[in-house]
Subunit: 288 residues, 6 copies
């Protein structure tokens, strides 16, 4: 698993199921900076010799055709990044690939999902987080990392939004959730949430602060009482639908303890790639 930059998609592109793209940005973070440094750390953890290349499904991610890490997309830390991110995703989707996006803060999910929703009508979004990220605006910024799901609900054209692990719902976000019929589940409602996960094409967005800080201390907003790593993997396993895209966001290496959270992000990344690969293969079989 090697690193490089996203400049030159290799020629064998079409043969790869999953593209990994890093989006090193944190200028839309409200509290601390740091997530821009996350993709590099996640890659180090993915390639660490203490780890290995097999997913829990026993798929070897090193198998040619499973995934390719295209490196980081160059961003400017201004509003033009919205378009840059959306375009980078579109380019991969156009090649028939699925994408694992590595944040960066949660602001990247809005342009990513916009691109996905265009390609996948009826897209259902599953969102693991401590916070609903449904603010109409935050600190005057409509594209703050506190707002992406408000934007998605308003104009991305998704079928449904299911939020899991939420434990800091504030009034303005509650209003937004109710207006758009968001299904919101706290950590104590995990079983119920798992039983109501959507079919159809599914986009899974995981903010690492959805996990309990015992598992993922390296986040800007630690909110105790969250999910375990296993809980998140169980959510993944119980999605009946076709997982077409994923992101892992909000790793803040500045607050991490001995790269523990980067290791969690790498683990989730590997399982997300394996699932997307399996769903793609299953889909192909169905198609033919």
């Amino acid at each position: 698993m090697s690193t490089n930059t996203a400049s030159s998609p290799p020629q064998r592109a079409a043969a790869v199921t999953v593209a990994v793209l890093g989006f090193p940005t944190d200028s839309n973070s409200s509290h601390l900076r740091g997530p821009a440094k996350a993709p590099a750390r996640i890659r180090l953890a993915m390639n660490d010799d203490g780890s290995n290349s097999f997913a829990e499904s026993e798929l070897d991610l090193a198998t040619p055709g499973v995934f390719e890490d295209l490196g980081d997309v160059a961003l400017r830390e201004d509003e033009s990044d919205l378009e840059t991110i959306e375009a980078a995703i579109e380019a991969q989707l156009a090649l028939g690939r699925r994408v694992l996006s590595l944040g960066g803060d949660h602001s990247i999910t809005y342009p990513v999902v916009r691109a996905y929703a265009l390609r996948y009508p009826g897209l259902c979004v599953v969102h693991v987080d401590a916070h609903p990220d449904l603010y109409p605006e935050f600190g005057g910024n409509r594209y703050s990392h506190a707002c992406p799901f408000a934007r998605i609900l308003e104009d991305a054209g998704v079928e449904s939004l299911t939020q899991i692990g939420i434990r800091t719902m504030s009034s303005p976000q509650r209003e937004m959730a109710d207006r758009h019929g968001v299904r919101v589940f706290g950590p104590s409602q995990l079983q119920e949430a798992c039983s109501r996960l959507p079919g159809g094409p599914v986009y899974l967005s995981v903010d690492l602060d959805g996990l309990d800080p015992a598992f993922a201390p390296g986040v800007s907003h630690r909110e105790p009482g969250g999910l375990s790593v296993r809980d998140v993997l169980d959510v993944l396993a119980k999605i009946p639908g076709n997982v077409v895209g994923c992101d892992v966001v909000e790793l803040n290496p500045e607050r991490d303890i001995q790269d523990m959270t980067a290791t969690v992000a790498a683990k989730l990344s590997k399982e997300f790639i394996a699932r997307m690969h399996a769903d793609a293969r299953r889909n192909e079989e169905v198609s033919f």
Copy 2:
């Protein structure tokens, strides 16, 4: 070099449901010092910009009338503190408030509960901890942090004591538990414990070492195999009774890792305030 003191309760006192009082004491600790420094750390965590003011019930704790932090009660680290603590609690109860007490070590719970039991006949105590704290005396000290529940059982006049998370029951404590009919539940019995939580007026005391050290490393006595933060919140949620008082004790900032445990204490504090506020409101409605 001074610290906040709780000397002058503001005039709008009666309008506030919950008072927060710090008790910075650790001279009754048997092993390590440190918990005297805890209230200041918990307050920093409660006010951290990475956090927010909404409880999981969606109550905004910043709403006027919910709670007021009265700072720390001045203590002398001698036996007179027992009376000082009891009096400080009584003063708040006399104003019609409920109190969240921030330790300090667990020795504070005896005088706190004494004050509560006088005002709330039939008081049931729910106690989350790794240790039963039921020693007749410890190292020659009857008011050691290893003894408060022995003292409470002997003379505070409470209705019942339910202990949850216990995993180090020694012979002298077992004898005390049996003599007084204490209901003791280990971490593997959590579900059963939750189904047998008391009604009536309830006082909830949480020693942070009841949690697993993965969630709460900043304690003097780390005992692996404990509860998660979510487990403790579930205990709170399943108390059928009227939660009239709470404490969070035994944070030892000297052993904390990046304030992780202070953040847990702050989270519990916020949820405890929200629950006491809700129970008080419900009670008022019932009364009228």
Copy 3:
């Protein structure tokens, strides 16, 4: 500058149920060194004043006759260690004792189980780990810490092998598992695993990386999504059989955070001693 050695078993040997032996070796580790330093750290944690001598069963481990720590077995970090370890175990078994072995890396379990299998026909092995450790060889080393259970299956003569917590099964290991009928359970199958634990004489081997890194960061191969300390204690509690031997391996003090993982190893050690003592006592009663 010397270390304790296990050279001279005291004369009162026969009266003790459980012997504790340290095996300070890590030359068969594939990735990092460090586990050779583990036994000393686990002992410090077991003797820490913040802990106490009561197991969860309320057995006081300080009771004479429960256990004796015989210190570390001198090893050379070459292949002769296989015999040295096997002989050290045999010597204790010959005295009628059960043994808690403190690693060292997982390579010690092969010679330990060989000795056990000879003495206990029909021995069932329960193995908690993130990895199956079933490689035919690893990096050219048949006795690598990635291989002990391959060796055990091939020639130790055990009745069955049950693996719990596995989350990195690779192809060569899957083949080995299938060939020998290993029962493999991932962390999401914990309940099922617990319902299918073996009777008969049971050897329990716990690689600390079977735990989630949130609970046990001090391991060479952190694999998120693992068990909690409580999960492992529940596995122990649900073994219907007679637990005749145990090990706790793969603590890497070089990666530990504030001795958190050493404390977990000490906790498991205490519970394993208590269980072996109880099973021995029960067995004696049955025998007479």
Copy 4:
């Protein structure tokens, strides 16, 4: 959830030599947030029981009249803060006090020194830092923490600027330094710097990253090769002039290790208070 504010200076004000003011701001930081949390941490360290109240001069800081901590000045994190800070300093100077300012990031030093320069004609500024902070503007912000000394040179009307510990002089800053005749000393020139420290009224500004990260890891910009704590205290001791004001800035608690840097900030604060008190007393004697 409130914080101390500096709104009401106590009536005995005139009798105190030194006022301590916190300026919790970091919105002008270019890289990471965090310094806004510093004043609270420095106060905790100053009041820690492991410390004591005697300065190295054997002055007891607890002596009435030495200093008073007025808490934090409420800031808005916008340009109005420049005036607020300047006014807060002016108010103390008008009372005949000297001020120790606790940052916050280095952007506070411009308004602080403006106030000082008006009251103390011929003010000489001594500045300990890894960086010259002389950018004409940084990232479009003329009041960035990378610019305060450019602003001071341009319009505060100070007599001289002496920079010590500088090890990252870039071209635009070199030009600014040369234009204004700044005396710049790297860490290897410490002895020479100490021999050329100014007389007259002196303002001392200490950015904690002037220290080597071994001594002060808790800063946003770690630049190895810096001063020791003793070096900074030696600089203080060798200032021949009358130290009328000081600041300690750029503590970033988010990056601190076990509050080590907060403890350094507290130590410096104590020595700065003692020096200002001694110089004030000496001055009074001279005056009469």
Copy 5:
């Protein structure tokens, strides 16, 4: 759960120059507990494979006859410990050995030096510390770790006391120092201190908080602005006298970072042993 004890000095005793004795006590500590755990940690660091057995003088400490570690002296944490410690030292001195004492807190130095002063008339004490430890009593305890040098001056009968690194001299201690003619040097006076070190028999006592916390964070009272490890070794090198005894005290493993301070204590221990061995050899040559 037992610890090593120093009960049975081996028969080849006379042939060894230096005895190492641990004194695991911290009940006379004023602020935090922890130093009782230090000897075990220093031994682990001395025996760590990352270290080696050569002192800077190129003496191999593993050479037979250089030193022997006798383990810990059993203490009760009451006043009887004073006699126990003194007797343990006397017993070694009677065998013609020199002793390296591993604390525990600084309270051990009084009984240790009492034994030394009886055997070595004209004993000069060199004391490295942040604090003078000259309180007449502290918190009502005349044997507090804040008092040992007051006791030594009053009744141990030493020739002189030289204190190096002092940076928190309070009034009651200044009075004691002046009354007894103590030579006190702050960290900025290190060169002068080194030029005035005593001849004759010398006892060297090193409180690890004499070092800067950057080098030795694992102490109960961190006082920035202290010595480097090299500074302390230079003090040792510049003692013209005959170093007959040494101690290393006040390591608090509870506050250490990755055993960094235990490693410093081990390094000092090795150099102290080597120096005592060399001085003993030189003395023998002179004698014959």
Copy 6:
């Protein structure tokens, strides 16, 4: 400052003064693994936004022509690496470049210096380290990281070897040093060492454990009493000769604290590049 791999030297090669090459190897380490992960960490630190591109000489390293990072050289962790490393250096030297080599453990310095000595007759080696690394062989391995300077003395054909910071000279190494006339300076002899640094072409090898662990905790063998970062920069500044090559080795990220040592390695790297660039420019001027 970007990362890539060493596969395709860009066409503008000749125009660049310094090449940076990573050698990710640690199989010749005697105690712990880890240094193979170092180059990636050093690059992250060099590119961190908290840092900047100016060296202390005020050279902007971002200036085209100063340096180019060619990424890591692929190694096999067997003896063939000796040739691979030597060839990789030779290739750069043949292009007229100077090389900064990033370890990896210290075993890389032997093949690196072999290549240098061929191209630069009369090469003088300056070596900063806690250990002389002069073992004839170590644990049976002649190419162990404990042996490179023995090999260099024997067959690389260098003019002289000057070792600085040495504090663990053992007998077999002393013999080697004496036989070859190595100039060995301990940390207390730093000034003398600096006054005797060689002219002529100089190769500078810095083992990070030459630094005190307070500055560089992230090494396999922590040896307190070492140099500061400034000391090493002063050594560099006082080399009268022409610095033609440098390495920074033995960073062990597994033992680092918050990347503190990686940041030190990055700082040294930047200063080494700047010095090599300046010496190359000076040399060119002399030539013309």
